[in-house]
Symmetry: C2
Subunit: 339 residues, 2 copies
DNA sequence: CGAAAGTGTGGAACCGTTTCCACAGCAGGC
DNA sequence: GCCTGCTGTGGAAACGGTTCCACACTTTCG
């Protein structure tokens, strides 16, 4: 492997000049720069990022902590982050946060601390106070996506408002027997999102004076299979069946639609279903949904990180950036049929 | 940030001894080791991986190159790789290979070369000879998943055999008008997989003496939407409609099932559908499929990498490891109804 | 016309580790 | 009692860059 000194020798300049010529910092005449660059090209020189970041203290690498990879929302966020980072010339080191407590501790105390990353993006993760302290002690930018951060900069949709909005959509269509199928605190690591959506649902129901007891909510795995299973159970009895369902995510909503079809229930004439997320499959299933744009959120998180990385104006305000949403009305919602 | 020298000072030993105590290489008495370890703990010392790998030449970091993140197969592979790497104490740097030619070149010539990774795992990527040469010149382990590697160690199912197997399943049920909906060379970056599945389909059809002309294949995006759209078109005319469909992937198969339902075609009584992959949703849709286990394949790829990393017995045999599959028969396939 | 400012270059220190080498003590074998 | 081999430790030389500082040569400007 060729080193900078080889390039310098070939170009007949000092290491210092060679470094300046290649990195673009400091004065180098056009002539020598060309000589150095072509020398580097001929011997196939590439900087050692280790050596480089050892002295500069910057790694051009961002750590991403994410609970799942293979769920639409998370995959989409990850793709957005990846594209934006590559475009900015950064690498992305991926850490999946498992449910296992000791592995989680190991990740934080060991992996993230090894001066390997310049910044951290945490996706849908509720950090413990200890973890926040640990991360802040690194004095590196941290940005959270999904779920308001506890003292860290964050970016997400307003989940309470989102759930209230979709619930109100059903209410305004005339539905009164509305049920919510969504994630629960027990079932989800990234629970903040789903408890908040549940809160939004309740808020809208109560504001409309509609019943919102324990049978108005059913916990589900936040996945198509979870929605499918929960909906099968919830819709089994025609007498207690709601006329509309607010799903905690589009995946749950799609599972619900598939379950309804299997039970012979017509959507939307017998059952309206509304989701939250703007899943790529929502169009295919004709699902009315409140679209957020996880891919763009990933990119925006990277922008926030880059801002902090470039400027670092003392304390980076740990503000919460609300991401806009848009209601996409399709064929899964309509007014309830007269009874 | 505390450095090794701080630990050494606190423990009243030399840097050399401190290093040995913490890394576990070389002789250190039990007594001093304890002193060093507790000194490190009190000041919260963590090694600088940059400094460390600068001198050792190893980074404990593996690069993963993958074309998509948000498709089931790829997400699953990625999760498998991630878990296995973390367990082995390695970091994972993620590179998504886009279709864009210049970005692809940039990735290879710039990102992957910066001595940042100890090994590379390439998922479903057909490398150009130039790229293979580039990677091999790094003298680092490379393992491919999906698609036989051109001179690099690889791991995948036998896609030709897999497609032939599912096709034969339909043939043995008595189907004769069988159609294949799958990925095409034009539409897919990771095309080797899908051209091979197509080849397997043709092979089985021809072996059975069944017609296999141009109308026996329809190209689709390898996704649910793609399968949905292609199936809607393919099934529109009842007169030319096949009695069974071999889908290029489970996602295509599910899209096909949804399309059939929308067209009022009963599955399986009027149309059998079979997929390949063992998608997590296949059970929910009652899909008969040939299951592979991408998660386990990811783990296996990591094992291969670790083997090479630990031993490096000269030239690491660029062998192809065939991954086993299993047919999971569900409710989407049956004998054709008599006409 | 002399001082100040801007440009171009090289020497050398430094980043934080690992590891080679030297050295010292101590056991065992002849 | 001396040589050999093992254990334990410290000094110092890498690893491959970046950057501070010093120095030299041009301009510019009052």
């Amino acid at each position: 492997m060729s080193a900078l000194s080889d390039v310098a020798r070939l170009a007949q300049v000092s290491k210092a000049t060679a470094s300046r010529a290649l990195s673009g910092n400091g004065y180098v005449s056009e002539l020598t720069r060309n000589r150095v660059v072509s020398a580097a090209a001929t011997i196939g020189y590439v900087v050692s990022s280790n050596a480089s970041s050892l002295v500069t203290g910057r790694t051009r690498n961002v750590g991403v902590v994410i609970p799942h990879i293979n769920r639409w929302y998370f995959g989409e966020v990850l793709e957005g982050i990846e594209s934006a980072l590559i475009a900015a010339g950064y690498d992305l080191t991926l850490y999946r946060l498992s449910e296992d407590e000791t592995e989680r501790r190991r990740l934080f105390e060991y992996f993230l601390m090894r001066k390997r990353v310049d910044a951290v993006i945490a996706v849908s993760i509720e950090l413990t106070p200890h973890e926040v302290r640990l991360l802040r002690s690194l004095d590196k930018p941290i940005v959270g996506i999904g779920g308001p951060g506890d003292g860290i900069a964050a970016l997400s949709i307003d989940d309470v408002a989102a759930a209230a909005l979709v619930t109100n959509h059903l209410i305004s269509l005339g539905h009164t027997r509305i049920m919510h199928i969504g994630g629960s605190r027990q079932k989800e690591m990234d629970f903040r999102v789903h408890t908040q959506r549940q809160a939004g649902f309740r808020k809208a129901m109560e504001a409309a004076g509609l019943p919102c007891g324990t049978d108005a909510f059913r916990a589900a795995d936040v996945s198509m299979q979870g929605g499918f299973a929960a909906a099968l159970a919830a819709l089994a009895d025609p007498r207690s069946r709601p006329t509309a369902i607010v799903a905690g995510s589009d995946e749950v909503a799609i599972g619900t639609i598939v379950a309804a079809r299997q039970l012979g229930i017509q959507v939307p004439s017998q059952l309206s279903v509304i989701g939250i997320d703007g899943h790529e499959l929502s169009a295919m299933f004709g699902l009315t949904t409140l679209a957020q744009h996880p891919n763009a959120q990933g990119k925006m998180a990277v922008d926030l990180v880059m801002d902090e990385l470039l400027q670092r104006p003392g304390a980076p305000a740990p503000t919460w950036h609300a991401y806009p949403v848009s209601l996409e009305v399709r064929d899964s919602t309509t007014a309830p049929s007269v009874e």
